[in-house]
């Protein structure tokens, strides 16, 4: 399955809905979208990965790159993911310590609000 990307604003956060496979072929599209959003001034990003079927280290690199960009503006990039097979790669690489990973978009928004 190819990669489908969409985004919308919710409570001041830009939610990026990702569906499909994030790999060496499709990751550049996600990278371009994250860069575009940051360039437009969206520094509070939530990447909803609930419909992601595959994620490799190329995809991790894109997410880390996005995190770096928003942090440069004192922003945040949170992930929404409950799929064990996707979470596993974050655990293997230790990136669970880097990203806030939440069960739902609403939870991610609430956590960010509480940290304000």
């Amino acid at each position: 399955m190819d990669l489908k990307l969409d985004h919308h604003t919710k409570d001041g956060n830009e939610v990026v809905d990702v569906e499909g496979e994030i790999d060496v072929y499709t990751a550049p599209r996600l990278r371009e979208l994250l860069i575009e959003l940051v360039n437009k001034g969206h520094f509070r990003l939530i990447v909803n990965m609930e419909k992601v079927e595959f994620l490799d280290s190329t995809g991790l690199g894109v997410l880390v790159g996005g995190l770096k960009r928003v942090r440069a503006h004192d922003g945040s990039l949170d992930l929404v993911c409950t799929q064990e097979r996707i979470l596993k790669i974050f655990r293997i690489t230790g990136l669970t310590k880097v990203f806030g990973i939440h069960d739902t978009v609403d939870e991610a928004i609430e956590v960010r609000k509480a940290e304000k």
């Binding site: 496979e21 790999d23 060496v24 072929y25 990278r31 860069i35 595959f54 490799d56 280290s57 190329t58 991790l60 690199g61 894109v62 880390v64 790159g65 995190l67 770096k68 064990e84 097979r85 979470l87 596993k88 790669i89 655990r91 293997i92 690489t93 230790g94 990136l95 669970t96 310590k97 880097v98």
Partner: protein, 232 residues
């Protein structure tokens, strides 16, 4: 089942095809259903790594994959044709790429990370030492169906603990031999905040409980294997 061989031009789009073929052959060979995701991810990582290096150095050369099942294990060998090591090539690319910042700077991960040395013994005439800087593996991942041997392999690769098994689990205490070994030595991560290029290898070692890396005459081969179900 007979060995299945696949070669493809080094285009990112073909990596998915390679993953699908590997997963299909693994399933048909009798790899447990719960391990198929790991096969898919590990093969994808190895192929992505090879494709990136080929695109830089030998775009006309195909990446080769060999899938086989014997002695109760399903094995995948991914071979590139980049002398000196694909990771060196990818590292060099990242150093040159103006967009290298995109894959960089997991500052927290870097802060928390450890550098580990992992030595894989070649079956050919050379040993390859991979110096892979990776973030630490969290203690006791709770993933269901993630047996201890694979967790142990990941931790060892991450920490470079003295006496830990080498990348691939073979006896690897011997120092690298010969010029190729030196050429294939890679240094991942570094202090500039980049996500280590060797992270793909770290993922592979975290997934497969048996990983071996060796230099061929023309490039690097990565062999990964998983147990087959005992259907007797």
């Amino acid at each position: 089942m007979a060995t299945v061989e696949l070669s493809f031009t080094p285009l990112p789009a073909h990596v998915r095809t390679a993953r699908l073929v590997a997963t299909a052959v693994a399933r048909r060979s009798g790899v447990e259903e719960s391990l198929l995701d790991e096969v898919r991810l590990a093969v994808g990582e190895a192929c992505s790594r090879a494709v990136e290096a080929h695109r830089l150095h030998c775009p006309a050369e195909p990446v080769r994959i060999e899938l086989s099942d014997r002695d109760g294990r399903f094995a995948v060998v991914v071979t590139d044709a980049v002398p000196g090591g694909a990771d060196d090539a990818v590292d060099n690319q990242e150093a040159r790429s103006p967009d290298s910042a995109d894959v960089g700077a997991a500052h927290d991960a870097e802060d928390a990370g450890n550098a580990g040395d992992a030595t894989a013994h070649g079956v050919g005439n050379a040993a390859v030492t991979a110096h892979v800087a990776v973030p630490p593996v969290l203690p006791a991942p709770s993933a269901a169906g993630d047996p201890a041997p694979r967790e142990a392999a990941g931790r060892d690769a991450a920490t470079g603990t003295s006496g830990s098994p080498p990348l691939g689990g073979r006896a690897g205490s011997d120092p690298p031999r010969g010029g190729r070994a030196a050429g294939a030595r890679k240094k991942g991560g570094g202090g500039n905040g980049r996500l280590p290029a060797g992270i793909g290898l770290a993922v592979i070692t975290g997934l497969a409980d048996d990983v071996q890396i060796w230099a061929t005459g023309d490039g690097i081969s990565i062999r990964m294997s998983w147990p087959l179900q005992d259907l007797s």
